[in-house]
């Protein structure tokens, strides 16, 4: 087990290295930040000064080498646009995105598994069919569209919830969190719902598929024949076995939630990492984009590690296979 984790960590370093190289190269190919940041009326002297100030006057490979050297010390460079350490800018906005991701996951898992379970156990009921139809709606409409519709209905027409922005924050362990207060939740509700819809649909469908599959298997029939109460059969046996593929997908989806938060944050003016990174991409603020990707990829690998560990805990067959 320890070897497994250590090997993963070593691979993580490799992954981060490759990611940083890809982003550097990619942004270099898109364009020159100086052409976008410097006032177009400026003369050559100003352009040269800016290039030197931002370290862009050296060849790309040298810039990358400088970046690597300071990255090992924890310094991922200074944002071109903000003038502050890129890592600081990202980490400052991370709690806001994580709040949305967390709430979205809670909504989608909390609603998705029960609904999927129901639809899987009673597939022929009208309500089940309605749930499945609704789930298709959830992932076929583009996020930005649904987002604006939510704003139009709940904020403009009904006035029940605020239209955009993030609520008041409190400091918790040095981070600014807004969802611990009712006021904060009011602001977070619509964007989280928007973000959750896609995953909700996915989880409903996957749960239902797994339930239908498992419900036919021998061990379930055996348990029922033994006289075990229905609830126990479902709750303990069925649930445990559908958790495995479910956990994989949920882990996968967490990454996509953070990626899709980009759109939701834009529509709801939610000051998170996603909105920051899209602006930074369009402004070619390379340090921020690199910092964002490194942070996100790192988080992602850690999540996958957790999922894999959970996986082997849940499914003894995998443990045996891996041990071989």
């Amino acid at each position: 087990m320890a070897v497994f984790i250590l090997r993963r960590l070593a691979q993580t370093l490799l992954v981060l290295f490759v990611t940083s190289a890809l982003v550097f190269g990619g942004l270099y190919l898109i364009g020159n930040p100086i052409d976008i940041l410097v006032n177009p009326a400026a003369d050559e002297a100003e352009k040269l000064r800016a290039a030197a100030a931002l370290g862009l006057d050296r060849p790309v490979l040298e810039q990358y080498w400088i970046f690597l050297k300071s990255a090992l010390g924890g310094d991922l460079g200074k944002s071109f646009v903000f003038g502050r350490p890129a890592l600081e800018v990202i980490l400052e906005r991370m709690p806001a995105t994580l709040e949305l991701a967390f709430l979205a996951m809670v909504m989608s898992v909390g609603l998705g598994i029960p609904l999927g379970l129901y639809a899987g156990l009673y597939p022929d009921r009208l309500s089940s069919k309605a749930i499945m139809a609704g789930s298709i709606l959830g992932f076929s409409l583009p996020t930005f569209w649904v987002g604006l519709l939510l704003i139009m209905v709940f904020a403009v027409q009904l006035g029940w919830l605020p239209s955009t922005g993030r609520g008041p924050t409190q400091e918790v362990f040095g981070l600014q969190i807004s969802i611990l207060s009712l006021e904060g939740l009011k602001y977070a509700f619509l964007p989280s719902l928007n973000l959750a819809l896609f995953k909700l649909s996915l989880i409903i469908r996957l749960t239902r598929a797994q339930v239908r599959e498992q419900a036919l298997l021998d061990y379930i029939r055996f348990a029922r024949a033994k006289g075990l109460p229905r609830a126990r059969v479902i709750g303990v046996h069925l649930l445990k076995n559908i958790m495995i593929p479910l956990v994989t997908v949920i882990g996968l989806e967490l990454g996509s939630v953070i990626a899709f938060a980009i759109v939701t944050e834009s529509v709801f003016a939610w000051p998170g990492m996603g909105k920051l990174v899209i602006d930074s991409i369009f402004q070619l603020d390379r340090p921020v984009v690199v910092a964002y990707l490194l942070v996100v990829v790192f988080m992602f690998i850690m999540i996958n590690l957790a999922v894999d560990l959970l996986y082997s805990a849940l499914d003894p067959r995998v443990r045996i296979a891996e041990a071989k």
Binding site: I30, G31, N32, P33, D35, I36, L37, V38, N39, P40, A41, A42, D43, E44, A45, E46, R49, A50, A53, L54, K78, F80, V81, F82, G83, R84, V89, E92, R93, L148, I151, M152, A155, V156, G159, P162, S163, T164, G165, R166, S266, V267, F268, A269, P271, K275, L276, D279, I281, F282, Q283, L284
Partner: protein, 521 residues
């Protein structure tokens, strides 16, 4: 009982009463509160709430006294400014010429600046303070635009200018200015909160507290206004103007701005312009865009009024030159080109292209209002009159990088004259490219004419306003009217939407100033 019900109903139907707090939604986020760090419009507008420049600009960009009560050019290269007495910084200290000198020293030396204000202090060769309230500036060469440039530099106190770093401004520590508002809070990417400066030397701000929110997504910004979350928004999207005008709860303030949307053409290459083809689509060796008749024909093919009414929904003004007529340096003779497809075809034939030619129009898609749609409309018009046109839209990051490398033949772009007069666009768009001298820095078509250069060169060194005005107008008449170095399309009209109980004088420089928002009469 009835009265109670009616009152309750009225409360439900209206918004909560406007307190002493004003909330405004901005369309572009600021990147820093340091007034000299990043020369970006939102940053500059925001810093004017906390700090003052020596010279201010009114809503039509005419210069007005700021921290300097008066100024004049003593001779061609010396200027004298009489500073305002009795002005205090937020911390109570007095404002004197020493503060100005310290500020000028700081401006070119802000570390890590992606776009500094050094271009404004560069012409100043020497700055002295003969006494506490007099400032004397010497320039290298005659530089008539000095007052305009100075209107962009916010003045800091000597202590702040000498010791503050950019992060001190963002945290609020260094936010000690002379301006109408005092710093309260700044959350990057989200909001800026400020409180009125009771001891301000100028007109007292009407609202005790102002909260600026940054909502870049246009429909979301409108939704925020309609939902009552903010009381005023800038950058009203053209799609919603009609609906907002009909809403009885909302007022719209509009003004034509200093931003021109135009077409730039590759007039530099003699042959083989990258995206010019014959009508069948095969690359063309000759470069038709080099011929002024072809460029004039393109101008005639475009129905500007249709673009203004259908694409911009009335939020634009057809353009025939570089700035609307009330600005300094414009010509009374240049009018928007009339829509004349027949005349255009004749000119094309005259120039040797009776069957036309093909071209690709490149445009950014996230930079100017409706940029991509304008490009599509232009392409429609050109195609109908014999120039089949394709449109290639891309994010501005890609567009400007490639455009600067001269990869395009026909491009849509915009220019906002920060100085509020025409030497800015003439110099940057139409002067012969000379990087070291800062001429033609945005001249992506490499238009070049000796006559225009001569007129412009003399104009920018002429201190006398009247003479300079004539020369600038003559340069524009030659460059745009006669040679069609660029095809002007329209000037953007900027709009602000606010609750009916508010009033704002719409500004040509597109700035949003909370201290110029007043309760409506």
């Amino acid at each position: 009982m009835r009265k109670f019900l009616l009152a309750a109903l009225a409360t439900l139907l209206s918004w909560p009463a406007a307190a002493q707090e004003l909330s405004i939604a901005l369309s572009t986020p600021i990147t820093s509160l340091d007034p000299h760090f990043h020369n970006l419009s939102p940053n500059n507008s925001m810093s004017k709430h906390f700090f003052d420049p020596l010279i201010k600009a009114d809503e039509r960009q005419n210069l007005k006294p700021g921290l300097a009560e008066s100024w004049k050019a003593i001779d061609d290269t010396t200027w004298e400014f009489k500073l305002r007495k009795g002005v205090k910084f937020h911390d109570g200290s007095d404002f004197t010429a020493e503060d100005v000198l310290a500020t000028f020293k700081r401006v070119p030396n802000v570390p890590n600046s992606p776009s500094s204000l050094a271009i404004y202090t560069k012409p100043i060769k020497e700055a002295t303070a003969p006494d506490k309230y007099t400032l004397r500036l010497k320039t290298d060469k005659p530089y008539p635009l000095l007052p305009n440039d100075l209107s962009g530099i916010q003045i800091l106190s000597k202590k702040v200018a000498e010791t503050a770093k950019t992060e001190d401004f963002n945290s609020g520590k260094a936010m000690n200015g002379t301006g109408p508002y005092k710093f309260v809070e700044y959350v990057s990417g989200d909001r800026v909160v400020m409180a009125a400066n009771e001891k301000y030397w100028g007109p007292k701000p009407a609202f005790a507290k102002v909260r600026y929110r940054m909502i870049a997504n246009s429909p979301a910004r409108v939704a925020a206004l309609l939902a009552g979350d903010v009381q005023m928004i800038e950058g009203v999207p053209t799609a919603d103007i009609e609906r907002l005008k009909k809403d009885a709860r909302i007022t719209i303030a509009s003004a034509v701005s200093n931003r021109l949307i135009y077409l730039h053409m590759d007039s530099g290459r003699e042959r083989n312009s990258p995206f010019v083809t014959d009508v069948a689509g095969k690359p063309l060796e000759a470069n038709p865009l080099r011929d002024p008749r072809v460029r004039k024909a393109i101008s005639k093919m475009i129905d500007r009024d249709a673009i203004v009414s259908r694409v911009m929904e009335g939020q634009a003004q057809s353009a025939g030159q570089l700035l609307p007529e009330f600005f300094f340096g414009t010509s009374k003779r240049l009018k928007p080109e009339k829509y004349d497809p027949e005349g255009a075809k004749k000119l094309l034939a005259e120039a040797g292209y009776p069957n036309g030619f093909g071209v690709t129009l490149h445009t950014p898609n996230n930079r100017y209002i409706n940029d991509e749609r304008i490009a599509q409309a232009v392409a429609q018009f050109l195609t109908r009159s014999g120039i089949p046109t394709k449109v290639d839209a891309m994010p501005s990051a890609v567009f400007f990088s490639r455009g600067t490398k001269l990869e395009f033949s026909l491009m849509l772009a915009g220019w906002g004259a920060e100085t509020g007069e025409t030497s800015s666009p003439l110099r940057s768009l139409l002067a012969t490219y000379d990087a070291a001298a800062g001429m033609g820095t945005a001249n992506r078509g490499r238009f070049s004419d000796a006559g225009v250069d001569a007129l412009l060169g003399t104009a920018i060194a002429t201190i006398d306003d009247t003479k300079r005005g004539f020369m600038l107008a003559a340069a524009a008449e030659k460059a745009v009217g006669e040679l069609t170095g660029i095809v002007p399309l329209h000037y953007e009209v900027s709009s602000w939407a606010m609750r009916k109980n508010l009033a704002y004088k719409a500004r040509a420089d597109q700035s949003t100033f909370a201290f110029e928002v007043f309760p409506a009469k």
